[in-house]
């Protein structure tokens, strides 16, 4: 199984559909009961009508017999909603070797979608953003949703720069229903800013997971002599010496990761660091764990 989840192997698979199927079929799959009530055929209980309830759910037969107004509730099989917020800024196109961070993020997203829709029958949606929301696919379980999501992922090419503050305003509008929000990004931003931007999602009852995707070279960069480095988002150039990359940079990155982890966990969010040479199962396991905890 591990072999099929190896990112370098997955990079050879061009179809996201097949890729997601390969990943997820190789992963643990299973249905479980939803803790939330839905609107399917299996009856769960009656609940007294309170003003504002949808009249369509009133059991009129019972009302006719008892003249009491009850709502009929059913136990639904799929009522979780997965929304993947994919960072498609320019920094995501960095790579020191296949796969690119963006591709790795796509693999994760595709696998999650496949797992959610095909195996869990959850509703899944996608938000692609950089400094603003570039694409939004509403979470749904409808026929063809998987294809739409995959198409959305295909279209998500790195572009512009990351800005969490602007698109997050829109996120709150899109995510009015509770669910799982997974943010896949490299998070090149101040951790406080990130947490402050994402925190509102959590207030809406969403389980928020941050998948921090980084290239191994971004954590432990190897430099042969001094080099001119170009920022992929800003095009800014500076000359950096290997000694700095070996020492100070690593300290700073580690501190950044640690602070991000600490702050997100303090805000009730989950954080998962993923490097592009890691297998995808870590991400899937995180999702399932999160989903189980939600039940």
């Amino acid at each position: 199984m591990q072999r099929f989840l190896d990112p370098s192997v997955l990079a050879g698979i061009s179809s996201l559909d097949l890729l997601a199927k390969t990943v997820v079929d190789g992963f643990v799959a299973g249905l479980h009961r939803s803790p939330d009530f839905g609107f399917s055929q299996e009856f769960a209980e009656y609940r007294a009508y309170t003003p504002g309830d949808d009249l369509r759910h009133v059991d009129w037969n019972l009302f006719a017999r008892t003249e009491r107004c009850y709502l009929k509730r059913y136990r639904g099989e799929t009522n979780s909603q997965l929304t993947v917020l994919l960072d498609a800024s320019n920094s995501m196109q960095y790579t020191s070797g296949p796969p690119m961070k963006m591709d790795y993020a796509r693999y994760i997203a595709a696998s999650l979608f496949y797992l959610a829709i095909h195996n869990q029958r959850d509703a899944a949606g996608l938000i692609v953003f950089d400094d603003e929301v570039r694409e939004y696919i509403r979470p749904s379980t409808r026929q063809g949703q998987m294809a739409r999501l995959f198409a959305g992922l295909e279209r998500a090419e790195p572009h512009a720069r990351t800005d969490f503050a602007k698109p997050l305003v829109h996120f709150q509008n899109f995510l009015q229903r509770r669910g799982i929000a997974i943010i896949i990004s490299d998070f090149y931003e101040d951790p406080e800013t990130i947490v402050r931007a994402i925190e509102p999602l959590r207030f809406h009852g969403n389980e928020v997971v941050l998948f921090h995707v980084l290239d191994p070279q971004e954590i432990r960069p190897v430099m042969k002599g001094s080099a001119v480095l170009v920022d992929l988002e800003t095009d800014q150039r500076i000359e950096v010496v290997p000694e700095y990359a070996k020492t100070t940079y690593r300290t700073k990155v580690d501190a950044h990761i640690e602070e991000l982890r600490t702050r997100t966990q303090a805000a009730g969010m989950d954080y998962q660091l993923l490097t592009t040479n890691q297998p995808l199962d870590a991400a899937l396991r995180e999702y399932l764990t999160m989903r189980k905890a939600g039940n």
Binding site: S91, M92, Y94, K101, D186, Y188, D215, E218, R220, P221, V222, M223, K224, G225, S226, A227, V228, L229, V230, D231, L232, E233, T234, Q236, R237, I238, E239, V240, V241, P242, E243, Y244, A245, K246, T248, Y249, K252, V253, H256
Partner: protein, 681 residues
């Protein structure tokens, strides 16, 4: 400074490579994209500056390496004085002959020699020699300045007689082994009397350049000396007017006519003084008689009182040994009393020796002890009593001597007593109606010695020989021959002793030798030679040799000899005292010697009186000598600096060595630079 292969300088074009690589080539760095510069800082300045410095150092090393390699191929050279580099050997010869004791000659010469040595370049090889009575090699050709200087400092003035002919011969011999050019610097007073009879003896070989450094300037100072002393070495009767006298010749060199006071000293005490008028540049004889000395060895000297510029030669030393007359055993055939008569008459006529002849017939010699006699004469005694013959042989082996004269009886007996050989034949010239005369005579032989033999072969040409016994010389040395080649006088060594064989008789039947004056001289010299008294006292010249023992000593009976020089030191080591056969008398003064046969001697040793003539060689002769040597370079009166002849010395080896060092430094620096690129991940 120059280049032996300047066309290799074209390789300097290669220097453009490091210039291009390090200075002209633009450093191309491909920008490297990163996700964010959020965690990067600009930290390049100090590092780049440091690296630029390293680059510049690396560039300098590479530049220097290429430059040095090109220079090495171009073969740079420097010009150095030819004296250093041409392999010329500096040969310093310091004259330490007796005449160098005059004034400050020796000190001046040594000072100049030291200055010449100091002027030598460090790498040049030099050799030090002392030139007195004989050439003494102080060092081999070496370049150790300290050792050379020490050798030069150790030379002390000697008492020998310098001879430039000897110097020339020694240098010619040396040049056969040393093939390189030699700069010979001679520091000497350039005495005229040191010149050999033949100028050709002084000429030096072609590879030797002679530079003379005369230390005696101007006219030679006047000098009186005791030129010769004629005194008896042995004296038995001080009242004998013929023998008990001392004749000394006082000579003046460059002197005006003067009256000099001359003293005779015996054992340090003046026993007589006389005034003598010495003409200008002339000689005068002074005689002291009688010579009253005690028994034993008496150290005598004739001294000129008053002194002069060269006081060292104002005395002539000699030793007189007073003893009772020595006996000579004369053994003759029963019917031959005539030979003893002639021999005794000749012995009494001789002036110097004091011998008493004891004549006996052969048959009566049985009980005689030969060791009690100075020597033994066997006159035509073909048969000896066996006891006496045995005792005589033992005596000869221990140092005794025998004169054997063969008369007419010898031809009838094959065996010659003691001699060891046999008579082969006899030449009876009288019977054939002719006579033989003496053809060859070795006048250097002590028994026949004559300084200037006359045209009549020193008197021997008149001698007629009627009868001789023919003897095979075998190991004997022939000292005189007849005109037909028949040996007349032979000498053979036997143990420590000598055997002298006269192949004719001592009477007037076999020859008429006893009738000629030369017979007296012959008997006198033979007696002195065979008795050994000649070598026990008297005087010798410096650098003469004294035979201490016979050449072939039997193993197991080695006797020590002992020599005490004028300073009271023993110049012979213990091992030398057991083996040495002869000894050179190097110093002036009195030598005490004990020979291997146990006899003691005291000998007065005087410098060669030619050293007293301080007249230097004429200037033109000096120039002729130096001009005839080697490259024909002339000399002047002072140290002549070496001409400005130079020769190129290649430096490529040093340049390559330096290039190697630079290459190693470049490798170390470059590998260090590369090492920073191999960072750990």
């Amino acid at each position: 400074m120059g280049f032996l292969a300047p066309w290799f300088m074209g390789g300097l074009a290669a220097l453009s490579v490091p210039v291009f690589v390090h200075l002209l080539r633009k450093h191309i760095s491909i920008p490297r994209p990163v996700s964010s510069l959020m965690f990067f800082e600009r930290g390049t300045q100090s590092s780049t500056r440091h690296r630029r410095l390293r680059y510049l150092l690396l560039f300098a090393l590479r530049f220097a390496l290429l430059l040095l390699v090109v220079l090495a191929f171009a073969n740079p050279f420097v010009r150095r004085a030819a004296a250093d580099t041409n392999g010329r050997t500096l040969l310093i010869v310091l004259d330490n002959s007796f005449s160098m004791r005059a004034g400050t000659r020796f000190a001046d010469a040594k000072q100049k020699a030291l200055a010449q040595l100091a002027a030598k370049t460090h790498s040049q090889k030099a050799q030090i020699m002392a030139f007195g009575g004989q050439l003494e090699v102080m060092t081999q050709p070496i370049d150790d300045d300290a050792q050379l200087r020490a050798a030069l400092e150790s030379i002390q003035p000697g008492d020998g007689h310098a001879n430039f002919g000897e110097l020339g011969r020694a240098i010619r011999t040396m040049s056969e082994t040393v093939h390189g050019p030699i700069d010979l610097h001679l520091f000497s007073d350039m005495q005229h009397s040191a010149m050999p009879a033949n100028f050709a003896d002084m000429v030096l070989p072609g590879n030797v350049t002679l530079r003379l450094h005369p230390v005696a300037e101007g006219v030679a100072p006047p000098n009186w000396t005791v030129e010769s002393v004629d005194a008896p070495a042995e004296l038995s009767d001080p009242k004998d007017p013929k023998r008990s006298r001392v004749q000394a010749v006082v000579a003046g060199f460059g002197t005006p006519a003067a009256s000099k006071s001359v003293s005779l000293l015996v054992n340090g005490k003046v026993i007589a003084s006389k005034k003598v008028d010495v003409p200008a540049n002339g000689r005068a004889t002074v005689e002291f008689a009688p010579l009253d000395v005690g028994y034993g060895f008496n150290r005598c000297a004739v001294r000129i009182e008053g002194g002069d510029t060269f006081p060292a030669d104002d005395a002539g030393d000699f030793v007189v040994r007073r003893s009772d007359p020595e006996r000579i055993l004369f053994v003759h055939a029963a019917g031959d009393p005539r030979s003893a008569l002639y021999f005794d008459a000749a012995l009494q006529a001789a002036a110097h020796a004091s011998f008493v002849l004891q004549s006996v017939a052969a048959e009566q010699a049985t009980d005689l002890d030969p060791s009690k006699y100075a020597f033994v004469v066997l006159s035509d005694t073909v048969v000896l009593p066996s006891i006496f013959e045995h005792a005589l042989a033992q005596n000869v082996a221990k140092g005794g001597s025998v004169l054997i004269a063969l008369g007419t009886d010898a031809a009838h007996h094959a065996q010659i007593p003691l001699w060891g050989g046999s008579a082969k034949d006899a030449h009876d010239y009288a019977r054939s109606g002719s006579v033989a005369t003496v053809g060859q005579v070795d006048f250097n032989y002590p028994a026949l010695e004559q300084e200037n033999p006359g045209r009549d072969n020193g008197g021997w040409a008149e001698v007629k020989v009627f009868y001789t016994v023919v003897v095979d010389p075998a190991q004997a040395r022939v000292e005189a021959r007849l005109t037909d080649g028949t040996p007349l006088l032979l000498e053979k060594q036997m143990g420590e002793g000598h055997l002298l064989l006269l192949t004719s008789g001592l009477e007037n039947l076999t020859n008429d030798l006893p009738l000629h004056p030369v017979f007296v001289a012959f008997v006198d010299q033979t007696a002195r030679y065979l008795s050994g008294s000649e070598r026990l006292s008297g005087s010798r010249l410096v650098d003469s040799f004294v035979a201490l023992r016979a050449a072939a000593d039997p193993v197991g009976s080695v006797a020590n000899v002992e020599v005490i020089d004028p300073d009271g030191r023993r110049p012979l080591s213990l091992s030398e005292a057991r083996t040495v056969e002869s000894f050179r008398l190097q110093r002036a003064g009195y030598y005490q010697i004990r020979f291997a046969d146990g006899r003691d001697a005291v000998i007065g040793v005087n410098p060669d009186r030619r050293e007293s003539d301080l007249e230097p060689m004429a200037q033109d002769v000096q120039q002729l000598w130096s001009g005839s040597s080697g490259s024909g370079a002339t000399q002047t009166t002072d140290a002549v600096p070496v001409e400005g002849k130079t020769r190129p010395v290649s430096l490529w080896w040093y340049v390559m060595l330096f290039a190697l060092v630079v290459a190693l430094a470049e490798t170390a620096l470059a590998s260090g630079y590369m090492g920073t690129q191999r960072e750990e991940v």
